[in-house]
Amino acid sequence: MNQELGVISDEQVEILLGDLLEYYGYDFTGYSKASIKRRILRLYALDKQLSFAEFRYNINNDTAYFKRFVEQITVNVTEMFRDPGFFKTLRDTVLPKLGTYPLIRIWLAGCSTGEEAYSVSIILKELNLLHKSLIYATDINPAVLEKAGQGMFAMSQMKQYSENYIQSGGTKDFSSYYTANYSLAKFSDELKGRIIFSTHNLVSDHSFNEFQLILCRNVLIYFDRDLQHKVLSLFAESMEGLGYLALGSKAKLDFSPLSRNYKRVPGEKIWRKVS
């Protein structure tokens, strides 16, 4: 993709974000600017939009196009067992500690198309904890949640996912978790049975439960510091004492005053709430 010179200016990006907030109630103003501008330019080129005015008109007047816009400017790249070392720590350290609770409540915030939710579900099953766990998997974007609910992923990815799974400490035959259906791998209903997929907007929606584990590994880097702080406060409100917070591989917590309430689990981007 070639980002042509000044096709859309920073001011025009602000205008679009202002429209989204005014007409649709979606607040993207706290997103990192370079990233969101890139996403907007990408979509503009992809859809061969002829002018900014037309682009803006389509977003504001065509509901289907608005949905596409939101779907495309948010990043929905994810994998099963991405960063295997992280999932190994979940398997060996975090989830066994949570095994003593009668009901394990997990919030996967920004779950995108669901690959991580199924990954967590597989580990819970292998630890014999799935039957007493509930995974709330949420995303801002209804279209990706629909896909997540289907539990079908490209067959072409399975080799990579299987390698990730083994590196994360999995010892079963990974292919026993899905049935191959032409180009798609459909994951078993048992894995999906304890996952609740639902829309939730981290920017504007409130806490909806208390959890012992909150995972948010794909989202915070797209937010500016103020918004990151707001979302970390939301997580703190939604966390039981001694609960765990898991963030992405490049995430930081030390910029936030809330970091005082957490103790880092060595080696991974996982923190335990200690007060």
Binding site: M1, Q3, K33, A34, S35, R38, R39, P84, S249, K250
Partner: protein, 187 residues
């Protein structure tokens, strides 16, 4: 040439050797930051900053998200993220789709930096086997920045600088042994 506010070096196959030769020759008091974006395998733990740090007295570190970009520091783009430059001269990271089969993509950093640093940006594209960075150099030129490539004759894999020379306007073509002096003179 205009005052340099940032130098970005992009490379792929065959670029590490160049960096290891050039870094020891650099003036440790450079008046601008150096941002290094090289393709590497995800998962292989980030040994690159450590490896480079052993070759220079400049501070070398892997980029953290939202980190302000400071002069006299060598920043290394982390694997599996795109490194973007914000208007306020800080980094943001993005794990969106690969570009040119690459994440980090050199294009993403060159292009976002082009608009921020404009005529005070210098981008150097080294040896490599794909065309990542070429569109970026076109943007850098369009915003008034300076484009530099490794002389394809000196590159282990000539394809990347060759593609750049074909499709982008290149200001300087440098042999490996001339790079350190060129960079020191930007200061």
């Amino acid at each position: 040439m205009n005052k340099c506010d940032a130098l970005i070096i992009g490379g792929s196959a065959g670029s590490l050797d160049v960096l290891l030769k050039v870094l020891p020759e650099l003036n440790p008091a450079l008046s601008f930051p150096i941002i290094i974006v090289v393709h590497r395998k995800h998962g292989a733990d980030s040994l690159l900053p450590e490896l480079l740090a052993g070759r220079t007295r400049l501070i070398v570190k892997e980029i953290d998200e939202k980190e302000p970009i400071l002069a006299g520091t060598v920043y290394v783009a982390p694997s599996d993220y795109h490194t973007l430059i914000e208007k306020d001269r800080s980094f943001s990271l993005d794990c969106s789709e690969k570009i040119n089969y690459s994440r980090p993509a050199i294009d993403a950093t060159f292009q976002t930096a082009a608009e921020v640093y404009r005529d005070k940006l210098v981008c150097l594209l080294l040896s490599g086997s794909n065309a990542d960075g070429v569109n970026g150099l076109i943007s850098v030129k369009a915003w008034g920045g300076t484009t530099v490539i490794q002389d394809p004759k000196t590159a282990q894999v000539a394809y990347m600088p060759q593609q750049a020379a074909t499709f982008a306007k290149i200001d300087y073509t440098l042999a490996i042994e001339d790079m350190a002096e060129f960079i020191n003179l930007l200061s």
